[in-house]
């Protein structure tokens, strides 16, 4: 049996020794051995019991995942709290596929989806609406408090929880997120500690207008990789209070830092909670500096490779909302699309466009007149993960356009700014 290097409490040691069964002992062994690699001195209690898992897709290749879930189910093991999980991969009603694509999705790629969702439900999934990458939105309600220790995965959710909510969570892998939610403890290292939350980069924003969130996040992510940046000069554009507009901006910005780099925590001067409390004391003495002006943002934007086979062709599928849109964002898109169509004298968008949001946000949106207004423009609304859609090799035939830098990074989708996408879909410009 594994002999831990870290100090365990009597209760934790008992679990490791098998007092709560062989499966829980293996789960504890996994968490302890993982923590020992990072020289964690001990395990600390998960304060916010509602976990968030990254693995939402029954992709056939992950056979060990389904085998482990079977073992958990057979042993009757459940998480401490009800958890949310990343979006489902498929929605044939709103994200239509041809027969061949459906065959690959249902019979090959996501052949285990039903089985896996049943396994998740047995182990503690909150409900059928719990599938979103933005679990921290008000409508979804999985919202940790400042200082809460979490056992979450999904890079965009972790960076949001750490930075905007002031919670404490490492960039966990799939499976470790679930194990921490079952045992109720995580190893104390990295972003769990005060020292691990200090910034080793000072980023100074000198742009003449508010930077595109997804490009700014991309620039910072690619520069600092897994380090913590402290960002100065963004409060000039976002204000000093995290309102609905700032929530959407910080969600998109953080997702880009986490996917274009590996950022798990950022501080924004005068805005995010720890920056407000501790100010520039959070910046390490030996921190490096990165200045971002209009030219730097343009350089980063122009650096994105075009991966389409036919680079000169126009896009034929648009995804908006990765991570999932906030209610304000989907309302704003509705207004902008309606206004743009009015200006171009059209009734429908020119290209197939899918807006993505959490099921709980969609339920609320459906109850408003704006839902019908958006649907009338020809835009479809769904709650899938577009990355999982692009996992199907057949979808590479489609020329996908997106304003998500995460989707661009993990697929061959082409990135355009929000305003450029709007102009294209309403017929003002060709992309």
């Amino acid at each position: 049996m594994y002999e831990p290097k870290m100090k365990l409490s009597v209760e934790q040691r008992a679990i490791l020794d098998g007092k709560e069964g062989a499966i829980k002992a293996k789960i504890m062994e996994t968490i302890v051995m993982f923590g020992d690699i990072f020289e964690a001195p001990r395990l600390v209690k998960v304060a916010h019991d509602e976990g968030h898992l990254v693995t939402s897709f029954g992709i056939g290749l992950l056979k060990p995942l389904f085998a482990t879930m079977d073992k958990l189910n057979e042993a009757g093991i459940k998480t401490k709290g009800a958890f949310t999980v990343d979006p489902r991969p498929l929605d044939y009603e709103n994200v239509k596929c041809n027969l061949l694509e459906k065959l690959v999705f249902s019979k090959v790629l996501y052949s285990q989806q039903k089985r896996y969702e049943a396994q998740l439900m047995k182990v503690g999934l909150r409900d059928k609406n719990a599938f979103t990458c933005a679990s921290y939105l008000d409508e979804v309600g999985n919202i940790p408090k400042h200082g809460d220790i979490l056992s979450w995965a999904e890079s965009s959710a972790v960076v949001y929880a750490n930075s905007v909510l002031g919670a404490r969570c490492n960039r966990n892998s799939g499976m470790l997120d679930l194990f921490g939610s079952i045992i109720g403890y995580v190893p104390e290292f990295g972003f769990i500690t005060d020292e691990g939350r200090k910034a080793s980069w000072k980023v100074i924003i000198k742009t003449t207008a508010i930077p595109e969130a997804q490009i700014l996040g991309s620039a910072i992510g690619m520069k600092v990789m897994e380090d913590v940046p402290y960002i100065i000069g963004l409060d000039k554009f976002l204000g000093t209070k995290i309102d609905e507009a700032a929530q959407g901006y910080l969600k998109d910005f953080g997702a880009a830092t986490a996917s274009n780099g590996a950022v798990g925590l950022y501080h924004i001067d005068n805005l995010t909670p720890e920056a407000k409390k501790f100010g520039r004391e959070l910046i390490r003495k030996d921190a490096r500096e990165y200045v971002i002006d209009d030219a730097e943002l343009e350089r980063v934007y122009r650096s994105y490779p075009v991966m389409w086979k036919k680079k000169d062709k126009k896009g034929n599928l648009v995804f908006i909302g990765c991570p999932h849109l906030t209610l304000k964002q989907i309302n704003d898109w509705t207004d902008r699309i309606a206004k743009g169509l009015k200006e171009t004298g059209r009734k429908k968008v020119l290209v197939r466009t899918i807006a993505l949001t959490a099921p709980d946000v969609l339920d609320k949106f459906r109850d408003t007149p704006k839902y019908q207004e958006l649907i009338a423009t020809g835009v479809k609304v769904s709650s899938i993960c577009p990355l999982m859609y692009t996992n199907n090799p057949l979808t590479k035939m489609r020329r996908i356009i997106t304003s998500s830098n995460k989707l661009r990074t993990y697929s061959i989708a082409r990135y355009y700014k929000d305003a450029e996408i709007l102009d294209y879909i309403v017929g003002k410009a060709g992309k």
């Binding site: 293996k26 996994t30 993982f34 990254v54 056939g60 290749l61 960039r171 892998s173 799939g174 499976m175």
Partner: protein, 148 residues
Amino acid sequence: MRMKTFKGRVIAAGYYKGEAVVSHQGVNTLATFQKSALKNAKEVIVSDQNNPDIYEKNITGKALCLPITIGSTTGGLVIQTVCSMGINPACFLFSEHIDSLAASGIVLARIWENSKVIAIDQLGKEFLDTIKTGDIIEVKEDGIVAIL
């Protein structure tokens, strides 16, 4: 030429003698393994087009030398999966401190799949600057890596 040796920290111990495959950039785990795992292949032919160092190379049973892994937080599960299929690299040799996603994968593979996968980290920048794809290396239980 004299044999060059490096000493790292043992994450998962084991003995290996064989060929090295070197990536100078972070290895995107999902992008690297996904295609071979999906096809239920007998070996991993790297499918990450964004990593020219290892793209289309066979890494099954080899010593994968890398700085860290990057990419999706499914990374740990993917390492566990290829280990369960027996098509994993025999060793992961990290020049830097192992990242949390790779660490998860190694731990999951050892505990849940009884895998013998070897992992050594903190071998240093000079290790990656020195070692080349195709070099024959020997990895010892105490974390010594020798380029023969």
